[in-house]
């Protein structure tokens, strides 16, 4: 479970995402706002940075020019006789170093120009602790020969007195002076740190980020509120629609106000009312219809009983009649039987239509049922010269079902098969697995044409209206069988092909109320599958 729970959470999340408009609208709004805010923020930051740096560069250049001018002024004051280059350089650099320490910039004096020595080679004078590699190579190259003042961005590395190395962004400015002592050109590099500007910038960045965050939360909240106002009525409508679909036709939406949603609710309610009215009408109509069938069937029973008894009396006395009258009495008797069966079937159907049929479930062995049905239909089978075989597992096949109804289903299937078997065998196959039990009745007679396998269950349906009805079936047998099957939550299906016979398969759940997924017996019989 431990490794499945994150996946489960993910699936739940995805489901929520798919189902909730609110979530999607909020998320997309927040995403778009985030993109816009990021772009605007980035632009603002760029502008601020540029402005800050431009200002700083201007100030730095002015200060560097100032220092150089001051140094040049110092040089002009020095008497030309003093030729000690080192002293003169020290005199030049030391005041700048002091001022630099006070104002926060570093200085490097390199030179003379044209010597080709890089700064790292030594022989330079610089502020204490400054790493001379802080002066970028590109700037050094610029001042390889005589050149005007120039600047570039760099990173300044300073070794503190306690040994720590401080590194930070900075601006390197270079300008050249001519030393009187030897007439050579020396380059003065000033290194101005940008720490303060960096701090200002990060402050601005932080402020912008905070603002962006607050803005996003605000946008999300607003969107959530707005969508909720729209989504809540929609969800209510959905719930009411579901209840309507479930048959609670009196459900209605509450209408408040006069806005679009209220009008939607009004229209919805009107639709529900008109549906309810029509459904009621249809229900009433079908109830009257069913009631009529049931009443007619019942009303027919009392006179039929009298006729039946009279017929029996005549039938018993037929030996004393002349042959024609005797035959008439016999015909009366058989047709009364048929009439009675038809009436019983009609009543059964009307009972199903009224929803009055009830299951009396018990454990039923389908193999026993098959054998009993074979016994019951033996007379008919012998008349037709049909042998009915049972193929069943020895251990039996139990299912929770109403034995009377299951027997009736199988009897209907078997008599139907015998009727159409054309003197060939009829095979009853019983099979079961852990969730379903099935019984299939196969005949090798006329078979069913394409599309007929669904129609065989229709009431009073006949494959060929011209074909004589011989067994006296009522035409309701398979319809009743199908209704009986539905009552069990089972399947009753037919397969057939012209000339190859037909197979009817009944599948029942092993436990009452169980759901069927598959049948233990294939619908298309195995002896026919290779022809497919």
């Amino acid at each position: 479970m431990a490794e499945r729970s994150p996946r489960g959470a993910l699936r739940r999340g995805l489901t929520f995402w798919r189902r909730s408009i609110q979530a999607r609208v909020v998320a997309s709004t927040v995403l778009l706002s985030a993109v816009v805010i990021a772009a605007v923020g980035w632009l603002l930051l760029q502008q601020t940075q540029e402005g800050l740096l431009d200002n700083r560069v201007d100030a730095v250049l002015a200060e560097a020019a100032n220092e150089t001018a001051e140094a040049n002024r110092g040089l002009t004051r020095v008497p030309g006789t003093d030729v000690d280059v080192g002293t003169q350089l020290n005199d030049l650099v030391d005041p700048i170093k002091l001022r630099g320490a006070a104002r926060g910039f570093e200085v490097v004096l390199a030179g003379p120009a044209g010597s080709g020595n890089p700064l790292s080679a030594g022989g330079t004078r610089s502020s204490p602790g400054l790493d001379v590699s802080s002066v970028p190579q590109s700037l050094q190259e610029r001042f390889a020969g005589p050149a005007g003042p120039g600047w570039t961005f760099t990173r300044i590395r300073v070794v503190q007195p306690d040994g720590d190395v401080r590194e930070g962004p900075g601006i390197a400015v270079g300008s050249q002076i001519v030393l009187k002592a030897d007439g050579e050109i020396y380059t003065l590099y000033y290194l101005f740190p940008l720490d303060e500007d960096a701090e200002t910038l990060s402050l601005v960045t932080r402020a912008l980020l905070t603002a962006a965050g607050v803005l996003l939360v605000l946008v999300a909240g607003l969107t959530w509120l707005v969508t909720r106002q729209v989504v809540t009525p929609i969800r209510l409508a959905r719930r009411v629609a579901e209840r309507l679909a479930a048959g609670e036709l009196q459900e209605r939406l509450r209408v408040t106000g006069e806005d679009d949603l209220a009008r939607l609710a009004t229209s919805f309610n009107q639709m529900a009312s008109s549906l309810q009215k029509q459904i009621r009408q249809l229900e009433e109509l079908s109830r009257v219809q069913r009631r009529f069938v049931s009443d007619v069937s019942h009303e027919l029973r009392t006179p039929l009983t009298t006729v039946r008894m009279a017929g029996d009396v005549l039938h018993d006395a037929r030996r004393g009649f002349d042959p024609a009258t005797a035959r008439a009495a016999e015909l009366l008797q058989t047709e009364l039987d048929r009439f009675e069966t038809l009436l019983a079937d009609l009543l059964e159907i009307s009972r199903f239509d009224a929803g009055a049929a009830q299951l009396e479930s018990d454990d039923v062995n389908l193999v026993d049922v098959a054998h009993r049905v074979v016994d019951m239909t033996r007379v008919l089978a012998d008349q037709r010269g049909v042998a009915v075989l049972v193929r069943a597992p020895e251990h039996g096949c139990l299912a929770e079902a109403d034995v009377r109804r299951v027997e009736r289903i199988v009897r209907n299937l078997v008599t139907n098969a015998i009727d159409h078997a054309e003197s060939r065998d009829v095979v009853i196959q019983v099979e079961g697995d852990e969730s379903a039990a099935a019984i299939a009745v196969r005949d090798y007679g006329v078979g069913l044409a394409a599309g007929e396998s669904a129609m065989v269950f229709n009431r009073f349906w006949r494959a060929d209206p011209a074909r004589a009805r011989t067994s006296g079936g009522t035409g309701l047998g398979l319809s009743i069988a199908l209704e009986d099957t539905h009552l069990h939550g089972g399947w009753l299906q037919a397969w057939g092909r012209p000339g190859e016979g037909a197979q009817f398969r009944l599948t029942l759940p092993r436990r009452a109320g169980g759901v069927l997924r598959q049948s233990p017996i294939p619908l298309v019989p195995e002896d026919s599958q290779e022809l497919v």
């Binding site: 029973r301 009392t302 006179p303 009983t305 009298t306 039946r308 008894m309 029996d312 009436l343 009055a356």
Partner: protein
């Protein structure tokens, strides 16, 4: 056929409002050797019953004047004479209500005359050769010849059907009777019939003979099989 032969088979009161059916029933019953009288109204049924003193009543459930169920109850208050209901609806509660109000059996229209006659014969057949048998079941003693059941000297009033049912169980106290077997032995059905008949009459029998019908000790239910006579003797007996 002579008049003595007619009376020997038994007297049947037909209570049905359908004149044709009643007449037909009379014809068939006469052919089978029963004497019969027709009553077409429910409210006149009791008078006819007292006057005719039938051995069996054929009772339609839907009657003018008074409901068949009420007629059935009134007859039961006075007598244990077998009552066979005629009904057009076999699946409704009518059947159960009719059985609970005292009817012994029912026949569904349209019935075959032979079926009806078989039902009637099964109900009016009295013990051909009375044996002087004395049986006990629980704390009840049954006098087969005298057709009476007593508990501690007190007579327990049973209808003939209930008596037959109790007798059937008491004669073989070691045997568990399925409902089908009881239908055959007590009601005379040769084919499986409605087992509600058995259930309803066992309930009625229990309400008369058990000390506590909720916890039966004389007619015991064997789950999934049927019924048997209770074996446990009550203390003090």
């Amino acid at each position: 056929m002579t008049a003595t032969e007619l009376t020997s088979k038994g007297r049947v009161l037909v209570v049905d409002d359908d004149a044709s059916l009643s007449e037909m029933l009379t014809i068939v019953l006469r052919q089978e050797g029963f004497e019969s009288r027709v009553c077409a109204r429910g409210d006149l049924a009791m008078d006819a019953f007292r006057e005719f003193r039938p051995d069996l009543v054929l009772l339609d459930l839907m009657l003018p004047g008074k409901d068949g169920i009420d007629v059935c109850k009134e007859i039961r208050e006075e007598s244990g004479v077998p009552i066979v209901m005629l009904t057009a609806k076999s699946d409704t509660v009518d059947v159960v209500v009719g059985l609970e109000s005292g009817a012994d059996d029912y026949v569904v229209k349209p019935f075959k005359p032979k079926e009806l006659v078989a039902r009637i014969r099964a109900r009016v057949r009295r013990l051909d050769a009375p044996t002087h048998e004395a049986l006990t079941i629980g704390d009840l003693s049954i006098d087969v010849a005298g057709h009476s059941v007593t508990r501690a000297g007190q007579s327990v009033n049973l209808t003939p059907l209930e008596f037959d049912l109790l007798l059937c169980l008491a004669r073989k106290p070691w045997q568990v009777f399925t409902r089908e077997v009881l239908l055959e032995q007590v009601w005379g059905y040769r084919h499986s019939a409605d087992t509600r008949l058995v259930n309803v009459h066992v309930q009625r029998l229990r309400s008369k003979v058990e000390h506590d019908p909720e916890n039966p000790e004389i007619v015991v239910t064997v789950r999934g099989v049927g019924y048997k006579a209770g074996t446990s003797q009550l203390p003090g007996q």
